[in-house]
Symmetry: C2
Subunit: 438 residues, 2 copies
Amino acid sequence: MPQPRIIIVGAGFGGLAAAKALKNTPAEITLIDRTNHHLFQPLLYQVATAVLTPSQIATPIRSILRNQKNVTVILGEVTGVDKDQQRVFVTDADRENVPIAYDYLILATGATHSYFGHNEFETFAPGLKSLADAEAARNKILQAFELAEAEDDPARHRDLLTFILVGAGPTGVEMAGALAVLVRTSLKSEFRRIDPASARIVLVDMAPRVLGPFSEDLSKAAKARLEKLGVEVRLGHSVDQIDADGIMIAGERIASKTVIWTAGVAPSPAGKWLNVETDRAGRVRIQKDLTVPGHVEIFVVGDTASLDQNGKPLPGVAQVAMQQGRYAGKIIHNRIAGKPAPSPFSYFDKGSMAVVGKGFAVLQSGKVQLSGLGAWLTWAAVHLQFLATSSLRLTVFLQWIWTYLTGQRGDRLIVHQHAPPAPTPKRDTVTQSAVVGK
Amino acid sequence: MPQPRIIIVGAGFGGLAAAKALKNTPAEITLIDRTNHHLFQPLLYQVATAVLTPSQIATPIRSILRNQKNVTVILGEVTGVDKDQQRVFVTDADRENVPIAYDYLILATGATHSYFGHNEFETFAPGLKSLADAEAARNKILQAFELAEAEDDPARHRDLLTFILVGAGPTGVEMAGALAVLVRTSLKSEFRRIDPASARIVLVDMAPRVLGPFSEDLSKAAKARLEKLGVEVRLGHSVDQIDADGIMIAGERIASKTVIWTAGVAPSPAGKWLNVETDRAGRVRIQKDLTVPGHVEIFVVGDTASLDQNGKPLPGVAQVAMQQGRYAGKIIHNRIAGKPAPSPFSYFDKGSMAVVGKGFAVLQSGKVQLSGLGAWLTWAAVHLQFLATSSLRLTVFLQWIWTYLTGQRGDRLIVHQHAPPAPTPKRDTVTQSAVVGK
């Protein structure tokens, strides 16, 4: 009898956890991702601010699963799902919409940035979700200093050295802190016509406080720390306009050549592929066993799924994705093995952390609230532990110590790649892992 | 009295050596490069074959010169030289053809690949001169394995897994060896439908032997080693055609999706900018003091200069560039300091090396000829020593040991960057560091 075929779409935290949970399952598993690497997104801001090099936070998916012989890894972009015929469609550089059949499907296709209806902002304020995004942000930030140094006219230095981060959640706060440290330490003494430390870093959000999901006390501590680092924090106003020369906020123009979008997220189009009920944000409504109503063979996990627990929707964080991925793997394993289903999914929140600059973080876990060096050391230990391989743990650890002690960063290259050799599939703006099929 | 203004164009081995030789000179030095990094080109093939990550072989120029306060580093592309008014023209993302005046000019603008009149080959057989080139080659090579794995039809695997290197000089030989090791070690066990070790690696050259500049014995040793690694070496025939599906050589078609150009080099257009005598290859004819005839204030060094020694032209290698750069710096220093000129330039050849696969190199220095592990250890020690910073020396050293022992490579990411945010100046095919000015 042929083995059951399981397709997992997406090799982020959710998809990878699902694949690993199926390690001992007698099945043909196909893991499809549109990049060749598992990305450790929580450290993406450190690539964007030149601390780490891309290969320190991303690992080839097939390397991670090298020894799990029941998994085949495919580089391709899923373009749609045929629920009735139980097939997904995959496009790569060579072929379009190739159908692949499944008996079980796990969609772990994540989320991308949302411009809240202002897609025209994207050109001027790129987001930060993929390695390519992070490299583009790094190029842009470092290039701003280069253009200013090449400029004799000091009047233009100010615009070039103003950096705006739109969105004061964890990514915006961590970017702002890392940028503040960059300009005051790593770039020090390297320019002759400009003083990098004079750069203006502005963090804006329409919310009344930074780090919304954290307690008010920790928000205040984070804001105070940012201001100590010289970051201007502007809260309570939304951005009205973004163009090539800066932003408009609360009737004021802030001139800037470098605006980075660290605000909202939008789910992948998994809901459209499946043509099922979604929440207002577009995330697929799933049941307590993580399946789609009416389809016991289709699981949706992570940022692209919507599930309430204790009356509140689960947040779009790595921990939820990992726990859901593991659960989906386990429930499929049990079905194939003829075992009873595990008890319904329940998310266990281990807590949240965010770094602010150097040697300072905020941490919230249950009733525990911490800020300062202790929280930062905890943050560092936890993040090192979750990196995909032990060699990355070592190199990131050494890089952090090196950067902490010397201010020197790991990767400050500006490299504008050539255009890719093969045509890549078209994609719409809000697509993380796929294009809607025909 | 204002200090004399020295412009150095290019921060490769020649330009950087010149800047460093001017460390104690009372002058305003401007170093212009079109990238923000000094690239250690001899290890570029290790980025292309995924052993090293780009930041391990490239260092921001301004970091290297951080403590040399008389140097201002500018990111920009030189587009021309006005000899009479003593100015160069620089284009960057913001401004075009900005004139900068000099009292002394050092052109160290290097070389790029030459397609020997077949520029139409470039699309299908990209070269290997910049970090962007190396990342493009890496993307292409790794993607070929991904496409083959996604392909059910074994008939197509062969074309996808055939890699052709055109040019059997040091770069072609080193690439072929590194590819052979890649497919047999690092990629082992990671694919389910293909066997990476079955990949066909073909090294072609119209010359009768590999590594032309080395002795015949060392050529033979290198060829034997390549063949032991499974590389097909085809000599004595030029490539007649290259297209998207492979090459034609000696009337035979070799189907391949991945062809890399590791053959000829062409100098930068420095000769055109200056409108002076060049050799047949287009390199600027310079005098024994490295100046251009009739212009005691213009020096040309490295791959873009042509100088005979003992009746033979000096080769386009890093050592020549470094020694010439240092000499140009010294002669300018002496003139400014009112000291007598140093004795005419004389190149001291320390020898040449090339790696073939793992733990094997050939080495030729004066009458010494070595091949094998000893030559490889010497190669490793010398190359580590020449890296720009001590932290790179450490990380590259550790990476080599890690790769040697485990087969694991440092950077196997496929990342297709977004298009650069700012318009970059147009450039013609044979331009390493500049575009000819208006």
